[in-house]
């Protein structure tokens, strides 16, 4: 597996800037993609792996994603808010350093495996004194991640109705970690749950509140788009990492060290990284 030093984009959603009362980040109003690592930019922050992470611009989320798709950029990060009317804060977090150190992953082959894994996650969170609304949200978001991997990406299951009698080979993997109030959940699948286009499309469809529950929507999508909305709603950071065009790891990080209602209005970090293509 190789990692390329290729164009990447970091941008701040305009709504996020407005919600946070502006910031010390200058706004450019147009898309700019860094083409070479040694381009000098007036505002830069170092990521922990030494690559440059530059806050380049603010833009409408939709415009930025369209521009990124047009330029075939394979790595981007957006700092965004899910609710423009909310006060939000800006966090510049280190860029993902390629494949993350492995969490201890358990295999999910069947509905029983999934149920047991979700129950273990719930127990672990409760025993760690994570507040109940966070527990509910994280378990829900994890369930939706698993469903994405099992039903939307599996070559056979994606063609039919969602049911509970699946037996996956190869399995989907689930891991989680608690670290001083930060809860990380990772779901890995070999079925290509997300690629750049589908992840961007999911983000663009999401308006923070609505899913598509019409019967036609249910049939076409195999489920409800509300699943992705719950993943976003119940996390502080959501990252998608695709390796060799197939293996997908979705990672949700939730900061539970705050009142739940404040968490709901806080900003999000969204990452997409594709390796080895």
């Amino acid at each position: 597996m190789t990692s390329r030093v290729e164009p990447f984009v970091v941008f701040v959603d305009e709504a996020f800037l407005a919600a946070s009362g502006g910031s010390d980040l200058p706004s450019r109003g147009r898309i700019h993609v860094v083409g070479a690592p040694d381009e000098i930019l007036p505002w830069m922050s170092e990521s922990h792996d030494g690559s440059r992470t530059a806050i380049l611009l603010s833009a409408r989320f939709e415009d930025a994603l369209s521009a990124i798709a047009a330029r075939d950029v394979w790595r981007w990060r957006v700092l965004a808010t899910g609710a423009p009317s909310r006060r939000a804060f800006l966090r510049v977090a280190p860029w993902l350093k390629g494949p993350q150190p492995s969490l201890e992953m358990e295999l999910v082959r069947t509905y029983a495996d999934k149920s047991a894994a979700l129950s273990r996650l719930e127990v672990a969170l409760v025993e760690a004194n994570v507040p109940r609304p966070f527990v509910n949200g994280i378990v829900t978001a994890t369930d939706e991640c698993l469903q994405n991997a099992i039903f939307d990406a599996h070559p056979v299951l994606s063609m039919g109705a969602r049911r509970s009698d699946f037996d996956l080979d190869p399995p989907v993997e689930l891991g989680f970690e608690l670290d001083d109030g930060l809860v990380t959940v990772a779901v890995r699948d070999p079925y290509g749950t997300f690629d750049r286009a589908s992840f961007n499309a999911a983000l663009l469809r999401h308006d923070g509140r609505r899913g598509d529950a019409s019967p036609r929507g249910c049939e076409e999508s195999g489920g409800l788009r509300i699943g992705f909305a719950f993943m976003l709603r119940n996390s502080s950071a959501l990252s998608v990492e695709v390796q060799d065009g197939r293996s997908t790891t979705v990672r949700l990080v939730t900061d539970t060290r705050q009142p739940f209602r404040r968490f709901l209005g806080s900003g999000k970090i969204l990452d997409f990284v594709s390796w080895g293509e």
Binding site: V139, T140, D143, Q147, R162, C218, I226, R261
Partner: protein
């Protein structure tokens, strides 16, 4: 797994509304469903629910709807439209201790919230401390404006 326990007025749902939830086990006809026993919900379970609801001549009346399901009702107009709601749980938190308290809101209170578009103040058990609403106030009660009806007592 989702199971159904007969009550005096209908059925109480217990467990998870997920891909294994089979609502066809419920009889047809007017039903009151107590949802207080629902522990977890996912989008596939909600899809199963919607498909079942679409086939009913009369939608059920829902009581003691937990917050995890209130969110779904508010996010999905097709789920809330035509649904009759007798009571829901609304989360408040103590501003100092952070303790979460789920308050039961019934017919008149739900109608008030619908008409005033804000949550009613709630006091802690000490009778003096104002609790804080512990959800997104703008979205939590959206089901009241998405076509759900408030059912009387």
């Amino acid at each position: 797994m989702l199971s159904f326990e007969a009550t005096q007025t209908g059925y109480r749902l217990l467990g998870e509304v997920d891909e294994e939830a089979d609502f066809s086990q419920l009889p047809e006809g007017a039903l009151e469903l107590d949802l207080s026993g629902i522990r977890r919900v996912n989008s596939t379970g909600i899809r199963n629910w919607i498909r079942w609801k679409e086939r009913l001549a009369q939608p059920p009346v829902l009581r003691d709807v937990p917050s995890i399901l209130v969110l779904e009702l508010s996010m999905l107009p097709d789920l809330s439209r035509g649904t009759k709601i007798r009571s829901i749980r609304a989360p408040y938190a103590h501003p100092v201790t952070g303790e979460r308290i789920e308050v039961l809101f019934e017919g008149e209170t739900l109608a008030w919230i619908r008409d005033h578009r804000r949550v009613p103040p709630q006091l802690a058990p000490d009778g003096a401390t104002q609790l804080e609403f512990d959800e997104d106030e703008n979205n939590y009660f959206e089901f009241l404006h998405n076509g759900a009806e408030v059912a009387g007592r």
